[in-house]
């Protein structure tokens, strides 16, 4: 659409700006202030300079939770994206089952995040949960509160359960926008299933898939509630991701300085990813 230049449009944006800025700037300024000081409570602060940043950047603990975070994010992307595409491809295009499928698939997305965690916690309890009991009676030694591997698997499967539908829905919407004529042309040309996928379906899904992958990347990067309720970051620290670690430092130990410094580093990383996302998306849109 051709847009006309109109500086007065700022007035229409002003209320949004005020509300979001209130929520975004004041906390951000507070965090920057804390990150350079030390406090023992009572609103008394001591100047610390860049000590906290240096400490966080060099701490084993931060590196470990960052690594866990990256590993977790890449694992869920590697599972959710292919699975989501496969399910979207095999869903019916028309008929009464479409609505049923869509509603059932969207269901996990609307469950409060702590309920997701609690549900999986119950589901996976080794002696009384459906999953835990079945796995153990099949002869697997499974106990997610004690074995790091089981805890990891459960967290990853939970995220797959929770969010794959997002990728399915987006891909499905992309697929539905392909006119039937394309498929007929492909059939006349005798194109193989793979060729149809590679040259017709994948290009049409590209835009929504970019959005889906980057949304998943960012949401999984700030995941907190579900793993916290499911495993509490344990056993030990094996499922302590960035946000969980951050909350532990800030609210658990009340180390405001290091927590603030960590927040800012975390925020810069998120900002970089956002920018890459936005640039990619706008480029897609321009094409």
């Amino acid at each position: 659409m051709r847009k006309s230049t109109n500086q007065k449009a700022w007035w229409l944006v002003a209320p949004v700006l005020l509300l979001v800025a209130f929520n975004a700037f004041i906390p951000l300024m507070t965090v920057v202030n804390y990150s350079l000081q030390e406090t023992f409570g009572d609103n008394v602060f001591f100047w610390e300079g860049l000590t906290w940043f240096e400490q966080v950047l060099r701490s084993e603990r931060f590196h470990a939770s960052l690594m866990r975070q990256l590993l977790f994010t890449s694992m869920i992307l590697a599972i959710e994206v292919p699975l989501g595409i496969a399910v979207a491809l095999s869903m019916p295009r028309k008929g009464p089952w479409v609505s049923v499928c869509l509603v059932l698939m969207a269901l996990p997305l609307l469950i409060p995040w702590n309920v997701v965690g609690a549900m999986w916690n119950i589901f996976a309890l080794p002696d009384i949960g459906l999953l835990g009991y079945s796995l153990n009676s099949m002869g697997f030694d499974y106990n997610f509160t004690q074995q790091p591997v089981s805890a990891w698997m459960t967290t990853v499967v939970m995220d797959v359960w929770h969010w794959t539908s997002l990728i399915v829905l987006l891909c499905y919407a992309g697929l539905c926008s392909i006119p039937d004529a394309y498929y007929q042309a492909a059939r006349i040309d005798g194109a193989s299933g793979w060729a149809v996928f590679r040259y017709i379906q994948l290009p049409k899904m590209k835009r929504v898939l970019t959005i889906a992958i980057l949304l998943r990347f960012m949401d999984s990067f700030m995941i907190y509630t579900e793993p916290f309720v499911l495993t509490g970051g344990g056993p030990g620290n094996t499922t302590t991701f960035l946000s969980i670690d951050l909350v532990k430092i800030a609210l658990g130990q009340f180390d405001l300085g290091p927590a603030a410094a960590m927040s800012l580093i975390y925020f810069l990383v998120v900002l970089l990813i956002c920018w890459v996302f936005y640039t990619l998306m706008m480029r897609n849109e321009a094409q």
Binding site: M1, R2, K3, T5, N6, A9, V13, P15, V16, L19, V20, F22, N23, A24, P27, L28, T30, V31, A86, S90, P92, L102, V103, L104, A106, L107, L110, P112, W113, N114, V115, M119, W120, I122, F123, D127, I128, Y133, W161, T164, L166, A173, V208, I211, A212, F221, Y224, V229, S243, L246, V247, A250, L251, S263, F267, V270, C274, W275, F277, Y278
Partner: protein
Amino acid sequence: MNRKWILPTLYILFLMLPIYGLLTMSFKTTNEILGGFSFFPQQFTLDNYIKIFTDPTWYNGYINSLIYVVINTVISVSVALPAAYAFSRYRFLGDKHLFFWLLTNRMAPPAVFALPFFQLYSAIELFDTHFAVALAHCLFNIPLAVWILEGFMSGIPKELDETAYLDGYSFWRFFIRIFVPTIAAGIGVAAFFCFMYSWVELLLAKTLTSVDAKPIAATMTRTASTSGYELGLLAAAGSLTIIPGAIVIYFVRNYIAKGFALGRV
């Protein structure tokens, strides 16, 4: 050819299993739950649900959650409407950067903001009110609403605006009388997404409340910590939180993908 239904069916089965586990557990007595696993409830009971509907600390949780979710949805959508119109129709100094800045707020990890939010809302004496949570959730819901609405509005030809202005409509009269009804579907979807994200969020809601506005999600964490003791109650409370979502999903089922794509399918 027609073996295609297998994968979606298996996938949906996988989605339903944990929900089934939760539902059956909510109909069991505590003794039965702790006694061992069973696929169906042996002694079917509604006690857990009765407890939730009669104990104010439980059902108030639902009411609190619904109140702040509704306030938030109303604020977010009504503020986002004119802004989305501006983004979809006009070019102005810094428009793209503003749009990007809104996106970054959608992506900001709530954990980063938890503590400053607590102090901010305590300072303006809104702590433990529904407004505090509703305003805090604006941080990610307003950007979301702007994005979704902008996507829907871009699909409406500019001729509509121009004809109305030629007919002598003022901006606000055109906006409320003609434009808003035209994008009713978009508003519905935006409202649904604001509802959803405010409904599922816990960290900020929990941080900003203590007693009077405590959300159901936070009430539930109380039983979760006394592990195993009131599992049936926890399961029943969890099952009940699924219902509002399940109802609203039905109305937006055909637009839900468009909403997640931020209006850009």
